[in-house]
Amino acid sequence: MIEVKNICKTFDDRMILDHVNVTFEEGKTNLVIGSSGSGKTVLIKCLVALYQIDEGSILYDGRDFSMIEEDQRRDIRKEIGMVFQGGALFDSQTVEENVAFPIQMFGNMSAEECRNRVNFCLNRVNLTNANKLFPSQLSGGMKKRVAIARAIALNPRYLFCDEPNSGLDPKTSIVIDNLIHEITAEFNITTVINTHDMNSVLEIGDKIIYLNKGQKWWEGDKQAILETDNQEINDFVYASELFKRIRKASR
């Protein structure tokens, strides 16, 4: 579980996160939604300490991540997996080298065990026969899968995904969503996903947090978001005419 307590973040006197309080639960897919510029990416980067928060605290299962030395922070980071928007795969390494990288850096596995673990992770994301390819030879969906495989290579307790569906077709998006959702439940991970893909919200949103202008405006699950009368949420979720018609028909 990750507890975010009253955090604030400003850039050049612009408040990007304004006293945000939220709890991300274990074994659940926690989605952070909001329009562009609402502070989603800043929130996720504050959670993993790529940005320093100005106020408040972030607790990883009771361990204060925001008020510790960099060396101690690195120990907690070994329990974190992250899938970046663009994949952030290492260009000079093949697919299997990318997935093996955290294992070789921090694991104590033999070469054989490492190879088996890499194959397990790649199979888990349904990516076979791609071990020797370089990132430049992969499609967008394949890159995301490799990024997920790398993120789960060390059995993380916390998984962060920054817009995992961006740039993917609807079918591949659903595959990636389901994959993250299954992995979260299977390994009891605390997963936090940034997205503005409404399909993801309605498919896998165990817990949904709506950010607007750097503040938490709403929180609930995928059922609650369908039923809410909050105008801001409805304007965001049912932005398209199609969604508006579907909602009207379902009511």
């Binding site: 790529l50 980071r77 952030a88 795969l89 290492f90």
Partner: protein, 246 residues
């Protein structure tokens, strides 16, 4: 106060770079890769430049000696001293600042803007040490060999092209390059080379590491890396020459 920003920030960066590597096996692998990338891959350009610069120095020196009181072996002597004292350590380092410096800054800068450095940090890896330390150590180890090779090729190029052009005879040239030779000159050149290798790799890495934005900023970091590495090489050259030769 901005004038103090760069030295302070650069110092903090370097302090972070010189941390114990996460895994020594990985460090060794990276080190060998960088020796090949920064050193061995620079051999062709160093060979060509050294041969032709040696040739030009010899022919120009011979051309400018028109007094019958100056012996012809002075051509060999002048070529040797020019190459050992200044051309090989300083000019080759400036050329490497262009070739290697821009390559380092654009490689690390691209890793920054594509979030690969963030990915390393999130894994709990000291990204600056992981990426930069092997480059600095590799350059400090391999550059002295490159400079010694450059000295040899420069002097050999001077002899070969000087004789072909009829500017000097083999006997006089060989006598000249051995005349009043001080081994300290080699030591002086290698000391400079070590400092220059550190300057090229650390400054280029610094500008690459702190790139923010996109492709345009990567190009800008690459340019800054070359410009500032060159300026610092020239300043360090003056200070080291003052300290070692004055």
């Amino acid at each position: 106060m901005k004038i103090f920003y760069f030295p302070g920030h650069y110092y903090l960066f370097i302090r972070n770079v010189f941390r114990k590597p996460q895994r020594f096996g990985w460090f060794r692998k990276q080190l060998l890769y960088e020796i090949n990338s920064l050193g061995i891959n620079s051999l062709p350009i160093i060979t060509i430049i050294s041969l032709f610069m040696g040739a030009v120095i010899t022919i120009q020196t011979a051309f400018n000696i028109d007094s019958p009181f100056i012996p012809l072996y002075a051509v060999g002597l002048a070529t040797r001293d020019s190459i050992i004292l200044e051309f090989s350590p300083t000019i080759i380092s400036l050329i490497l600042a262009g070739k290697v410096g821009s390559s380092i800054a654009s490689e690390i800068g691209t890793m920054r803007v594509t979030e690969q450095i963030d990915a390393l940090e999130i894994m709990g890896i000291n990204s600056s040490s992981y990426l930069v330390l092997p480059k600095i150590i590799a350059a400090v180890l391999i550059n002295p060999f490159l400079i010694i090779l450059s000295m040899f090729l420069g002097i050999a190029g001077g002899w070969f092209f000087g004789v072909i052009a009829g500017s000097v005879t083999t006997t006089e040239y060989l006598y000249g390059i051995q005349y009043a030779f001080r081994p300290f000159y080699i030591f002086y050149a290698l000391i400079k080379t070590l400092f220059f290798a550190f300057i090229i790799t650390s400054i280029s890495s610094y500008y690459g590491y702190y790139t923010s934005g996109g492709a345009l900023e990567v190009g800008s970091s690459s340019t800054k890396a070359v410009v500032y590495s060159s300026i610092f090489i020239l300043v360090a050259n003056y200070i080291l020459t003052q300290l070692l030769l004055a």
